[in-house]
Symmetry: C2
Amino acid sequence: MSARKKKLINQPENILNEMLSGFTQAYSDIVKLTDNGLVVRAQPKAQGKVGLVIGNGSGHEPAMIGLIGEGLFDVNVAGEIFTAPGPERIVEGIKAADHGAGVLVCVSHHAGDLMNAEMALELCEMEDIDNVDMVILYDDISSAPKGSEPERRGTAGLFFVWKMLGAYAEQSGDLAATKAMAEKIRDNTRTLAMALTSCASPITREIMFEMPDDEMEIGMGVHGEMGMGRQKVVSADETIDLMLPPILEDLPFQSGDEVIVMLNNSGSMTLMELYILYNRVAQKLDEASIKVYKSWIGPYATTQEMAGFALSLCKVDDELKGLWDAPANGASVKQL
Amino acid sequence: MSARKKKLINQPENILNEMLSGFTQAYSDIVKLTDNGLVVRAQPKAQGKVGLVIGNGSGHEPAMIGLIGEGLFDVNVAGEIFTAPGPERIVEGIKAADHGAGVLVCVSHHAGDLMNAEMALELCEMEDIDNVDMVILYDDISSAPKGSEPERRGTAGLFFVWKMLGAYAEQSGDLAATKAMAEKIRDNTRTLAMALTSCASPITREIMFEMPDDEMEIGMGVHGEMGMGRQKVVSADETIDLMLPPILEDLPFQSGDEVIVMLNNSGSMTLMELYILYNRVAQKLDEASIKVYKSWIGPYATTQEMAGFALSLCKVDDELKGLWDAPANGASVKQL
């Protein structure tokens, strides 16, 4: 009833290479795999536009390989399972993303990702690669209190940043303005996640954390990090009634605001459940006179087969709505 | 390690209504829910074009609600969990899909779906609703031997039919030609599925079938129907080496053929595993000199949280490639 130890892989040490090979062959019209193991766009962006790079531990597919493509990111530096890539590889990613207008390294806030990105920027300075900057992104309200936002973790809500920032950088040659846009979207985004079950590491087949059969946890991080504590499982409506109010209070989102809503599937939730959960979200936002512009429901950033979801809201204005609706073509992000 | 009895729902008797309400609110730019519980397109197709209807038991989301939209189907008649809708409701669906050029009722071959669709067509005859026809669709090679194709079950490979037939009917005013196109795509499609774990009914919370911790089953149907028998779990590459040859032999797919490949996630497979599996599919098709035109990897037709996947191939010519690439906008099928 919890983690799945049976996984269809070959040798654990080949997971990353075989996954990247399979992924880039399946979507060869969108992405390609470089000789040094980077996932890059099959159609590079125009010269004179800002490059976007992200490094991350694997195991969260389709994050982040699925957001490389036109109108999205330029380069993904995929690390081993739940392990950030090293600084030398991030520097290779920065070089591959350079289209003559600087490169922004986007960091989902976790200790390992931040440390390696900071070291990569130091290496760039030593190599006289200039016009490189980084932005630290976070959204999980359970990981630090209001007022301490920069201490929060990056979780599924960052997909709002990836999508809109990708659209922005497709048009912009201004690195500072691109970084400011990333910060604007980040500061408009809030997420709270929950989990019903644990999951198993594909390498060790060990269960990542224990979860009793009749309990759930609100505030779970994307690697099973502790949240706001355990409680007995409640209904779908009661779950949303526990999760939505703290999100609304945190920004705060207010009457008259317009938002994009995301229900991210952490792994083995059914869409049936997510649509039922969304039904309550829609009802409660309507009662609060908060208007939904668009919604995303599906697997965007997963934690293996963990059953759970993340609820994210992003407050949007006309500028962000335009970036949201802009064309995009990634394996996991297609926008008409 | 198998089924998940904890599900985030409210009252079991409200699953269908709450799911359809949540789904149609989340994607209100694509679909709407009619007063009589049909999922229809927000932007109806042009007058004088053939209407496409499908009824099905729910619990397989995003199938089939996710394929209603422009360039796809017109009406979905969603039944209760794993239960085909009754004939009166299908007739309502036929009426809603009528744009003056006839309506094709598409039936994924299962006893209940077929019986209710046949009764719906009899009701149409009694009501003098003419220019309605049905097509029976199947793809699962494990459910009946070669030579007895019409006895086979409909499974995930029918998404090839849904996508391409939707594009065809968007342009066609000829019901007989539309039915012939459905049969052409069906006859070019073959599927074989496998499962690592069982799943639990969201209504009874009962486990649908038992599966030992060290075994897998090849040939599993979308409701856990028996396949070709159990065996010990093997590696990803070995799994593909068991599944791909019988698919290739069945059509047969031959050197020089061009195909679209689908790896459908039955529920709680990880994309990591599916990309690794795809890597072997690509290698073996290359060795057989069969060219991959495009690939789809993700959850298209699920069986709750069952861990497993279906491998489907569709042989394509220029006509089918054109239909594949045509614009589409459904919640689960977006094509640029």
